[in-house]
Symmetry: C3
């Protein structure tokens, strides 16, 4: 099994889910999501208990879902309340319900044993709905396994080559990273601190900084799903104050949610939250367009890799170097989560 | 093996087969059909004995077929009569011939042991070329296994949900059915008799009845291929006479031929023969268009189910209720036919 | 394994390979080709040693190749000379290099054990870049296994049926062939000498001969890759002189290179070199267009056969006749090459 179960995954953005029935496969499981009249998002198996018709192809009557094939009708908790041609509903007529939590503008769903779901364990990304940040975002489907996206994001030296002209500069690939793993908390940290370097167009055009910068890339990956890139951009030499105050610098909180759809396909949710030029809609449009372009460059590359894996000979072995330390730590942690589940 | 062999299947409508070479795969077997000069339809394996080239990609010379690759030439009985570069034709040069019968405007082909073919065993649908009926018809290919179409047709309560606005009304799903199985004759009967119910647009617009109706749905399934729905529509209270005469009511003989192409694809032949408004071309056009729409609604749903089956976990179990009695009886009979073949 | 390894295969035409990175899969192995500044063509595995990214999706810096994902940089011999984030290049950082030879306007690549590559063993087709011949050519990808193209080319009686109106006439299929196999040299010869026959449009329009001809088809197949058809077209009765001089006849040296891409796909390189109407551009255009049409007729037929094979029952057996002697000899020789490799 390639997925860690008993884990929270991002299924959608909060605003994706409304009255309409919304079907999405997460970790190979087809799930129906919708928002009830009281605003709560519910998740249940998207497969009628009768003849497996997708409930998302049906309709709603109030908070209930009616299967579009034979009319089996379900409460938001997945229990069947009506069937055609008879008044008695069989006791076992029920589809599995999935714990769902809406937090930080994201819809999280628990895959695995529902009894073990603990919403306090959902990792946070508070910038996404904070009034102190402005966020642009999107989602691109990937025809590649999610591990390839984890690899991609854990090693940003690829920015220099795949994303030159956007976020990549020569210094990214040249600057070594520091990696740290917190096994108890389940986090992999990878930090690259660049001093007195070129400012890539992505930040030059959005922050307005002319000239050279100090650029921090502090990665915080919380497997399996949430990836945070704390990005600090400041004119060279500008340091945080002795009291920790860093408000003179520019910060972009770049968030990815890495959600397996199937063994060979992935949802690549991307968000860029910033504390600068917050009301500037041109900057928002520029960052949205630029980051989407960067993500699509990754999509193209990772889809190629998925095809390369499919064609490669038995026993092919990768060669890892220093830049891969973070990615390898992430793989080990993912591997352990899969084994535990 | 998912197909019942030693059975007759509908391969095409009679008028589909003319001078032209017509290739169609039935139960996984590619077959060439064409009509000889004397009007007889012949069937033979659509695979040259030499290098397996499809004979349907070749040409005809009189009643003979010439392979389009190297010119191997076949008589209508499948025996090879000429090969290139030599005058002697090898003794074993012959492709299998398939028993074919044209009856009730349908081309029936026998799949299995040709010696066991008995044309008297072909089930009848005499309305289709009777002067007392007017028929509209069509065929839609299905990207789904044929069993899903059998399920679909055996339980018409789905009309209420999938075909609302055409043939479905609330009463269809609410009215219980009576099911009967004749193991010796190999027939499953399922009857739903609705009294004083709403007339769906399909019948209101074609019969001209205004007001409520008695509606009978008498299913007669003769596995594996032929499905008959004897549909009676009459103003409420109009009963057949004591002598059995029912000419005052409207009758639609709805015929489906369910022919497996491959394990995961099916030919869905549909025909609607009526004894009312027989010369009214507007009614013919309306019924043809409406029934095609209904069939395409089924096609969409069944193709979704085929995908759902492909993705579902090991050990998934359906839940059956009363409405499924006819479908389950049909499955058992099909299962026995497969085991016998 | 369906391919003969330790063999030379045609990867491209010489003029296909220039400064640009050119990726092509040969016998299932993705290979990067390009031409260095000194004009030499190099081949190396098209798979970065780091994370398998296709090097052909990267870029060149001088004679070196830079991976488009993380910047691993390779010399033309496949050795890695730079990696990101560290100055030390791991000792094992190297991709396999493929022996490449450019000869007779073709790029030959050796698949298998590089140490065993002997460029003297590459079969010749000297007409292709001889000043005494004019050549037209092309390449069509085939969605079919290469053996089907070998079969096709070894038995030209199919010209009568598949290529009527181009190169096929009734006499081709009627005239017996002589087959000879030279096991030591690894050649299959198949000769068809037609006397006083119809001249097909392909040759009538290009040679200008009006009236009947003597037509020789002398096949020389050097498995696995090179197929030569020495075609002689002359007015009936014109024989080579006693000294062997045959300059009064017209000769077309028709060359095919049959290169497996994968188990189920093939590159079909075709070339027509002629010693007549050498400066006539209309004849060149006519022959290029006609031969491409003929090749596309083969492509259509062979793709159909590949699908027929995929669908055919276990245990299906072909029936072979005299015309297949050459093809069967070719298969045996190929089979032995595969077993040896």
């Amino acid at each position: 099994m390639p997925f860690a179960r008993n884990q929270w995954y991002v299924a959608a953005y909060g605003e994706d889910i409304g009255d309409a029935l919304f079907g999405r496969t997460i970790c190979g499981e087809p799930i129906l999501f919708y928002r009830t009249a009281d605003g709560r998002v519910v998740g249940m198996a998207d497969r009628c208990v009768h003849r497996r018709y997708p409930l998302s192809a049906g309709s709603r009557v109030g908070d209930r879902v009616v299967c579009g094939y034979h009319g089996f009708t379900y409460d938001p908790d997945g229990s069947c309340v009506a069937v055609p041609g008879q008044s008695r509903v069989p006791r076992t007529a029920r589809v599995p319900s999935y714990p769902v939590v809406e937090q930080d503008s994201l819809i999280w769903v628990w895959i695995g044993d529902a009894a073990a779901a603990d919403s306090a364990a959902i990792p946070r990304a508070p910038w996404l709905d904070s009034p102190d940040y402005t966020t642009v975002r999107g989602m691109e489907p990937l025809a590649a396994r999610y591990e390839l996206l984890v690899d991609n994001l854990m090693d940003l030296s690829h920015e220099t080559y795949l994303h030159a002209g956007y976020i990549g500069t020569p210094e990214v690939a040249q600057t070594p990273i520091t990696t740290e793993t917190d096994e108890d908390a389940g986090v992999v940290y990878a930090r690259r601190r660049m001093k007195d370097v070129e400012c890539p167009p992505f930040y030059a055009n959005s922050t307005g900084i002319k000239g050279r910068i100090d650029r921090w890339q502090d990665i915080e990956y919380r497997p399996p799903c949430l990836y945070l890139l704390h990005s600090r951009i400041a004119p060279t030499g500008l340091e945080p104050g002795p009291d920790g105050d860093d408000s003179a610098a520019n910060h972009a909180e770049i968030v990815y949610a890495i959600t397996p759809e199937t063994e060979h396909s992935t949802f690549d949710f991307w968000m860029v939250a910033r504390d600068f030029a917050r009301d500037d809609e041109e900057v928002s449009a520029f960052l949205a367009e630029s980051n989407r372009t960067v993500v699509l460059q990754d999509v193209t590359a990772l889809n190629l890799l998925e095809q390369a894996i499919a064609a490669e000979p038995e026993g092919y072995q990768e060669l890892s170097i220093n830049i891969d330390t973070g990615g390898l730590a992430a793989r080990r942690m993912l591997h352990r989560l899969i084994e535990q589940s």
